[in-house]
Assembly symmetry: C2
Amino acid sequence: MTRAWAAGLDMGGTNIRCAAVSASGGDVILMEHGPSHASRQAAAVAENIAAQLTHLLDTARRRGLGSPRAIGVAVPGPLNVYSGTVMQAPHVGAWRGYPLRSNLEALIGRMVVVENDANAWALGECWRGAARGRRDVVLLTLGTGVGGGLIVGGKLVHGRSGMAGELGHVTVDPDGPRCDCGSHGCLESYASASGLRGLVEQRLGLSPGAPLPPQIVDSEKNFSVRGLSAQARRGDKLALEAFATAGYYLGIAIASFLNIFNPELVVIGGGVAGAIPYMRKTMMTQVRERAFTTIASQAKIVRAALGPRGGVVGAAYAALHPPTRS
Amino acid sequence: MTRAWAAGLDMGGTNIRCAAVSASGGDVILMEHGPSHASRQAAAVAENIAAQLTHLLDTARRRGLGSPRAIGVAVPGPLNVYSGTVMQAPHVGAWRGYPLRSNLEALIGRMVVVENDANAWALGECWRGAARGRRDVVLLTLGTGVGGGLIVGGKLVHGRSGMAGELGHVTVDPDGPRCDCGSHGCLESYASASGLRGLVEQRLGLSPGAPLPPQIVDSEKNFSVRGLSAQARRGDKLALEAFATAGYYLGIAIASFLNIFNPELVVIGGGVAGAIPYMRKTMMTQVRERAFTTIASQAKIVRAALGPRGGVVGAAYAALHPPTRS
């Protein structure tokens, strides 16, 4: 007995997740992992994605699942969802105006839907996660950067070319630090792993990229939000201050999103979301001070439910409900 | 020969406009004016609106136009568009959680649609104005305060209870001046008549409400944006600086709206929009510095086309296309 399913692939900076997802309920039937090789040439990165998809399709066929009804690929960074062109991807330097969809379709000989990873996650949370059945949802992904996905009236907001939802790049402090996007004082400059690293460096008087204290780096000497959280748990002042500042700006941004969207739900996901306990106090103070009381009282702020599965489940949903020009 | 029409009423802080608007093309067939008596008791303000509507309906009948197909009322401030309850209206102090729709319906014996005035204006601009045929539009009204209306995929964004689109109350500077909404550093604290007055007072070292120089007040000694514009035209440094600051923050907000919505069009209306020539330089610098280049290149920033008719045309449109819970 086979059941209808879609393939969903989530392209991260380091790893790729690739899954067979049931079309009816969004269950992950089969999950595979692989490296994303994001530093390779543009075409080689796409060939690697195509190989991962082909592998999943082969495994599924061998297990008697048959062919997928649709294939969706979630990638970081703004893209034109209609043409399938990736404008710029933070972890894939070679992708600048790269026609990912058409190249993937040529490689695997099937139609592919390409979606921004935070948008896909928002779709996934509405389908299977914390926002199930909700119609007006703001999703924030706090990871290396800050991504966003907007659901208005039950539909993903794409905007003119599918680049809407760049919620990490609203200004929360006009005089704030430089952001990777070229602006400064973006939400991402504070409430992301790179933002927190910057806050720590600033407090320690370190130049960007200088070696950090051993408690807050991982085995490869990279800044670790988990390490900073552990320090906060121990009551370390530096860690608590960094999280308090990130929470302050996160609260400012959420208050603006509340006044803009009057949502039912603000869903927060991503690796930095685990540190929300250390950001909550300053965050909620700003939400209370800045959002209209009636609007704030109608919205819950909750953690994302899907975790690492969010991208693949959402990519599968996007494939099953391909975007149409509004 | 009669043609189908709707009644649209626009409730301002001082005046009411009330019009018969053709259902097919949004033409204003008949327009009446009256005082809004906004400082009266809550019920008396509503009775005055009902009297204006009744007067319009009588005039229309006498002129052989027959009855309207629908009646729409645009009011300032956040409201629950589904229940027709006005949460708080900046110029109608007595309306706090006031059930305007049901009371108007009881007074005139007909169904009424109540909509936020900036939302109505956005609908009007898409129907008949600068955004005709556009599907993704951000409208900003720069008046005494700053209002907003959002069109996403051709539909007005209402959010959970119809209070979405409070674009004047996004934070553009966390340490900015107090805003009437209770927050501080809102867009409205800069790019509105009240914001500009505050900027002038600050530069002159005046306490809020103190007498202003005669060049920038009207015949009733109230602050006049037109007067400040005339000063800017003469090269007055104070006026040019105030507008440059307002434009700076307006540009910051517009850049955020671009990154959030990826719109086709940003439409700017209201009395302060006439001073855009004095704000444009600082505004556009911030838009260029802060919005994603691809997104900014896809959006035009234009003046609203409907002017004072925006509210009544939009209220009529809202009445003809009543909001449904998404």
